[in-house]
């Protein structure tokens, strides 16, 4: 008689999401755990798919500027900027340098706000609420600056096709510089905390190490990749807007752990502070907008890439000659980084999982897409509205 040892089939799965205190947006993760150690991880995205890409095809070029700005609540300016840059290439319009500089100014202010927001959330995930409260208090400075500059705290609506809406006045310039000085001082403090606080380092140093090869293989982008030593930043690789006139220094760390991700993001704040001061001192003279922007854009296609706070934002825009785009395809950085969370969490403690997840600075509503499944024969199984409705009725009728 032979004894067959069958592997344990049943797994203890800890579900995180779609509603969970660790997630600020809905996503569903299933972590199989053995005691406290994660043995398997899966993700299901798509809870906040809003059909924006499809919606863009039913709006004209100008209306879409406002639509894409609402893809992300944190990096709203970046989406509008990417879209505007792409459309301006299609329309063969040259945007005045002053407008480009102001666009970069707002983009960098937004980067500061986004990184500070992330910093607070990450500290909260680690259970360090004091740091969370302090960093968010300081983040208010940048929110006030953005409000003073654009009139809005979240969707700044700084762009128009062919330029920007507003100029920077002397009073605003002073407010920005004062705010930046204060934040620079605070950033020194935060960098000191994340690199020296022993208890915090216990939760970040050596946790979630992503090596350079893995980062490249998984196609990680943004600060997450730069923390693993990947020299990749669209602002440097393919300068857009005013980044050729105001170059940035790429911030890279090689450790690849959570601590490195904290350091990269905080050091990027210094670059943003420097760049903002430089732009305010050397704002090129000239107009804010082009005289005339065409209503219809001749047929063509364009790819527009921009470095958002979370990494590369990619837009593919196609025109068929009408006043509406034929196709707008958006790829946000979270989607590129999500694979790294799953592969990293295996082997780590359950307690580290929220930290690993937040380490990529995820933004779920940006990356959620509708998926159509093709069978192996290549036939699309498309559902009509009627069929979907009937399915819903039957589903709930049979459920009871």
């Amino acid at each position: 008689m032979t004894a067959v040892i069958s592997p344990k089939k049943e797994k203890f799965i800890v579900p995180i999401g779609p509603q969970h205190p660790a997630l600020k947006e809905p996503g569903h993760f299933e972590f199989a755990v053995d005691g406290e150690v994660v043995t398997d991880a899966t993700v299901r995205l798509g809870y906040v798919h809003r059909g924006i890409e499809k919606g863009a095809e039913a709006r004209n070029w100008t209306q879409n500027l406002y639509l894409v700005e609402r893809i992300c609540g944190i990096c709203s300016h970046i989406h509008a900027l990417t879209y505007a840059l792409g459309v301006e290439v299609l329309a063969e319009v040259d945007v005045p340098p002053r407008a480009q500089a102001i666009r970069v100014l707002v983009a960098e202010l937004e980067r500061i706000h986004s990184h500070l927001l992330w910093f607070g959330v990450a500290a909260h995930e680690a259970g360090f609420d004091t740091l969370f409260m302090y960093s968010w208090r300081d983040r208010e400075t940048i929110m006030d600056i953005l409000e003073a500059l654009t009139g809005n705290r979240v969707n700044y609506s700084a762009n128009v096709l062919g330029g920007v809406k507003f100029d920077v006045t002397d009073a605003q310039r002073k407010v920005i510089l004062e705010g930046i000085d204060f934040l620079e001082e605070r950033t020194h403090h935060y960098l000191n905390v994340v690199t020296t606080d022993g208890m915090f380092l216990q939760r970040t140093r050596g946790i979630g190490i992503t090596r350079l090869q893995d980062a490249q293989r998984l196609g990680i982008v943004g600060p997450t990749a730069r923390a693993s030593g990947v020299m990749r930043d669209v602002r440097v690789d393919a300068p857009y807007a005013a980044y050729d006139a105001f170059p940035i220094n790429i911030v890279v760390e090689t450790a690849g752990d959570l601590e490195a991700r904290f350091i990269v993001r905080l050091k990027e704040l210094y670059e943003s502070f420097r760049l903002i001061r430089e732009i305010l001192d050397n704002l090129p003279p000239g107009d804010l907008q082009v005289k005339r922007f065409p209503r219809r854009i001749k047929p063509g296609e364009v790819i527009s890439r921009v470095e958002a706070p979370r990494g590369e934002v990619f837009y593919y825009i196609r025109s068929n000659g009408s006043d509406m785009p034929d196709r707008v395809k958006v790829r946000t950085p979270t989607l590129c980084n999500m694979a790294s969370v799953l592969s990293l969490s295996v082997g780590h403690h359950l307690a580290d999982v929220p930290m690993l997840l937040v380490g990529i600075d995820p933004c779920f509503s940006c990356n959620d897409r509708g998926v159509s499944i093709c069978s192996s024969e290549g036939s699309h199984d498309r559902w009509t509205w009627e069929r979907l409705r009937q399915f819903g009725i039957d589903y709930y009728a049979n459920k009871v």
Partner: protein, 306 residues
Amino acid sequence: MDSVVNVAALLFFPGGLFVITAGLFYEWIDRKVIARLQNRLGPRWFQPFADTVKLLAKEEVVPERVNPILFVALPLAALAGALTAALYVPMAGLKPAFSFSGDLIVTVYMLSLLTLCTGLAGANTHDRFSLVGATRALTQLFAYEAPFLLALLGPAIAAGSWQISEITAYTETHTWMLVMQPIGFIVALIGLMGKLELPPFDSPEAETEIVAGALTEYSGRGLAIFHLGKGVELVIGLTLITSFYMGGLSNPLAFVLKTVGLLIVLAGLQSLMTRLRIDQTVGLWWRYGALLVLVQWLILFVIQMV
């Protein structure tokens, strides 16, 4: 007459109403101080009372596939344990209501009943967050319990008695134990934080990982009672440590000043620290906590021998 006094001791003072009210008030101080340290406004003074009243008035949902008797009984057992412990400590600076030789050990284990009940309550439900939380709560119990007890036994050995009233009488007349046994004090203080699952030892209820830990399925009355139990335990823990290590509690004023002072120190510590993983908590206690308290004991024995 005697039985009337005993019933009053159980229901009003020092057990029952008094310690429950004190627990809620101390919880408010804790929350308020942390909030101020974190640049927040914090709750108004009656917030913990309001929360408790609201929870008590709410429906208690008993989830499927649990033992309903255990589900209802465990919070009661937890609170009963904490309230019983209140009878043996010098509450409000007065003499303990009941006292017998060796009541220190009984008190400490009555306090552990709360954690034990929390763990069992988590294990009773089929919720996955509760199960992980229960495992963590019980793991943590085994981590801090021994060092905490040993730290409380330090003053007991100096006083030559394991009876709380006698130890308190001893500490009142001698130099603060805080000065004589500083290591023991630190271990006892951090042990109390572990016992109460305060940050950084809050991994059994780490909301960013396992929602509310072992008590995830509890709502309404059960949750309120567990909550009250924790408040009571906070008061008793503070009373024990102040009476042992901070020169006893000779009158109600000394009680208020010393315990609130210690509570503010606790609040400061909580707001300074990052949550530890459960393996780090266990490692900390057995690698450093237990070792430190043993060093304290060694010093104690050497001094007593000389």
